[in-house]
């Protein structure tokens, strides 16, 4: 966000938003949580990249890394990251339905149906990945 100074006219009162503005309404808090989710997802991805790097270093290095991940701190982090990832995904799917107008001929497909299609696709892809992991 860019912040440009506004020319203030004398006599008018200019309200200032305090740093705690996002505590004013539950919807703002939910918005900030959604923004915060990106931090946890970013950390998770860095850990994931390190995991792949350690895999390339051989079985012992990888086993040592997995041992580190089994510590209570890392497990707690992953639980929180999963919760944020789910929150982000669900709100994302709901928002896409509003943003992406899908037309069928002259009619607009109801946003709920678009969201439902997203969820179905999510479940199908998740099941496919699960099958792949379990069989491998």
């Amino acid at each position: 966000m860019t912040t440009a100074p506004r020319a203030e006219q004398p006599g008018l009162y200019y309200p200032k938003l305090p740093a705690t503005w996002w505590l004013r309404r539950p919807a703002y808090v939910r918005f900030m949580l959604r923004e915060l989710s990106s931090v946890f997802i970013a950390i998770f991805l860095v850990v994931f990249l390190i995991q792949i790097y350690r895999l390339g270093q051989g079985p012992e290095a990888y086993a040592a890394f997995l041992g580190t991940l089994r510590s209570p701190g890392w497990i707690a982090f992953h639980v929180v990251a999963l919760a944020f990832a789910l929150y982000h995904s669900i709100t994302w799917f709901n928002l896409t339905a509003v943003v992406q107008v899908v037309r069928f001929g002259e009619r607009q497909v109801p946003p709920r149906l678009v969201a439902a299609a997203n969820y179905v696709l999510w479940v199908v892809v998740s099941l496919a990945i699960l099958l792949f992991v379990l069989r491998g």
Binding site: L12, Y13, A27, Q100, Q108
Partner: protein, 249 residues
């Protein structure tokens, strides 16, 4: 038996005299069919004639009586006292705007932004009247209709923290109206309007808090208009990068 009353905590600000606004409490009759605007009119008529606020139609059409009611942007002509019973009800000027006096805000910034998005039909060549009207099918009307319901009440600006933090943001209503004319089959001004909507202080300033659409009293969805403009703009950018003819037909 004395009539039941409800307390309104009304923001007062006298320019040139007060350093900052303060709240003043008024006990007004609690009537089930009264809205906050009726209570303000009662205060002005019977209790304190110096109270200043804007209103006109009292039926949700003119868009001039928008204020913060218990911290939420509302048309005061549509905010019933009974929904806030037993009170007190906090009535403040619309958030994120400079205050002129009491509940009156300065709307110059919004008017300037509204002009900037050119919210009117632009034709490359005006058709002579003799050639008849510009026809439109119901499906073409349906594309933009909800965005044309905007009454410029500015509740969406009061709900938008981006505008509160960074007033250069063009903001929800102006972008939604620009988008509305872009969608209109009679309009040919897309190339003039799109650069304004997609500049840094346009759609890309929006972080999609989404409250603009929640508070809109006319069911307009400015948040969707903004995100759809982002998608269209991003698509155009990709096409211009990928295709030799710059994505232009």
């Amino acid at each position: 038996m004395s009539e039941e009353t409800i307390t309104l905590e009304v923001t007062r600000y006298r320019p040139g005299q007060d350093r900052e606004p303060r709240a003043q409490a008024f006990n007004v009759p609690f009537r089930k069919d009264w809205v906050v605007l009726d209570a303000l009119n009662h205060i002005k008529d019977r209790m304190d004639g110096t109270l200043s606020y804007r209103w006109s139609c009292r039926m949700g059409v003119c868009g001039s009586c928008g204020m913060m009611v218990n911290g939420v942007p509302k048309l005061t002509c549509a905010a019933f006292l009974r929904d806030y019973h037993p009170g007190p009800i906090r009535v403040e000027p619309l958030a994120n705007f400079p205050v002129v006096r009491d509940l009156v805000i300065a709307m110059d910034d919004f008017m300037e932004k509204l002009r900037r998005v050119k919210p009117w039909i632009i034709r490359e060549r005006e058709k002579p009247v003799a050639e008849g009207e510009y026809l439109q099918t119901p499906a073409q009307l349906d594309l933009y209709k909800q965005f044309s319901m905007c009454i410029n009440c500015m509740l969406c600006y009061a709900a938008c923290p981006v505008y509160g933090l960074d007033p250069v943001f063009i903001g929800p209503a102006a972008i939604a109206l620009g988008y509305r004319y872009n969608l209109d089959s009679r309009d040919e001004g897309y190339r003039l309007r799109q650069p304004i909507l997609t500049e840094a202080v346009g759609v890309w300033d929006c972080t999609f808090v989404g409250e603009c659409s929640v508070v809109c009293p006319k069911g307009v969805d400015p948040a969707a208009a903004i995100q759809r403009t982002k998608v269209a703009s991003a698509k155009e950018w990709f096409m211009s990068m990928l295709l030799p003819w710059g994505g232009k037909q």
